[in-house]
């Protein structure tokens, strides 16, 4: 984790340079209100994406000894704002849990939330270039 990033807190920095850093989404149990109780949590990586669906390897975070699975999802399960992120290699959280409605009843929910790619700031780019120069020396 680098400058200006706090766990679960979207941070914007370096406004003068026009760069913007968006931290990773918060942990899935807190993405909605505290009314969501998580029963099962995976981290997924998209392996194939089509117009209306995608496939992903999902790794069980609730019971890490469970084998990795491949799952097929409808694109409409993904929040509209996240749909452009659905492409091979992108990662997401998948939570199944119970959510308390404002009326007080409970309903089962399946929630997918994609990680937003951070943008490199000027300072991070400089830092990466310096590190890449150091890496080059191990090949000399």
């Amino acid at each position: 984790m680098d400058e200006g990033t706090a766990q679960g807190q979207p941070v914007r920095e370096n406004r003068r340079g026009g760069d913007e850093f968006v931290a990773p989404v918060p942990s899935p149990t807190s993405t909605r209100s505290n009314a969501l109780k998580s029963y099962q949590f995976w981290i997924g990586t998209v392996t194939r994406a089509f117009q209306d669906r995608f496939y992903a390897i999902v790794v069980d975070q609730t019971e890490p000894n469970n084998p990795d699975e491949e799952a097929e999802f409808e694109l409409e399960e993904v929040p509209e704002g996240d749909r452009p992120l659905v492409k091979t290699g992108s990662t997401f959280y998948w939570v199944i849990g119970m959510e308390r409605t404002p009326a007080g009843s409970q309903k089962r929910v399946s929630m997918i939330q994609f990680r937003h790619s951070p943008k490199m700031t000027e300072s991070l780019t400089r830092k990466a270039e310096e590190l890449a120069s150091s890496f080059a020396t191990i090949f000399d």
Partner: protein, 362 residues
Amino acid sequence: MTVTARPDPNEIEVSVFGPGRGECIVIHLGNNEWCVVDSCIAKGNSRPIALQYLEGLGIDTIDGVKLIVATHWHDDHIRGLAKLLEECTSAQFSCSIALKSDQFQLMVAEEASLPLNASSGVKEFAAIFSLLLDRQRANMPKSHISPVLAGVNRRILHRTAPGRSFHASIMALSPSDGLFRRTLVNMQDWPSDDSQASRDQPQNETSVVLWIELGNRCVLLGADLETKPHAGAGWLGVVESFQGDRRARFYKVAHHGSPNGDCDAIWTKLLEDEPFAAVTPYNSSDLPAPDDLTRLKSRTPNLYITARPTGRLPKRSPIVEKELRRVNRRIVDLKPGHIRWRWKLNSYSPTVELFEGAEKVN
């Protein structure tokens, strides 16, 4: 024989591990010296499978492992490689010459600076390069720092010291110079915020295919190299530039048995008749398909596979199970199967041992 039975110093071994979504090859070079090609980690375990196996044999991995090769940076070939290198402090590290490029180093440095969204393959390389940099800062010998660059017909290991019962030599057969140059051009086109998919694209092309000579027998490790239509590229390029006059008796089938990793020339120009061949599946791409196994079986009767996708989906709480009913799922990661070929210097056929679900393809 049990899996923990150690080979004699003059006994050659090739062990192929594959959990269904990864692979690792462990080779006994003779005289208690070992080489590890690629890496995978068994589910629920934090240690690379090669370390677990060698420790089970009672091998001193600090001194015994002499070479660790990364054939390419695909996730399924590289999990745990940094840990392996960290613990096997006598080992030299070898990777494709294509990874010496400034563009690749910048991609790895970006991942090290902003560790969020890269594939685990790039993360692993970030850890490897950082480890080598630490060794440089600690003034360790250059042989423990600089990667041995693998490219067409480059020898990456040679052992002929007196007292050895047989010579051991490892030669890279790829990537070719033409491919190397083309990959550099492709890498320059990578935008910094590109998706992993296009960065993954050139990886198989720059896979390191290895030709290993152990006494009077040769081993061909096909990595994920594919066949390509252009001259000098892919498997046809490897066959055209091959300078050896021997053929391999053992073959780690290229690209998980995929049709695009296979061509007649591999079998007619590089391999002995009816070689011993091992396939490692890649379940999330359905490799090998039943047709692939039929095709490979027609090439050799001595075909083995490390794992079959037979795992059962785990049971979860009723609330979760109800929601999961509408999602198509299948297991892709299994317990790593293990094919072990061992042979004495002058024996024609190896002893074949199959562990943890590995089987002969009939």
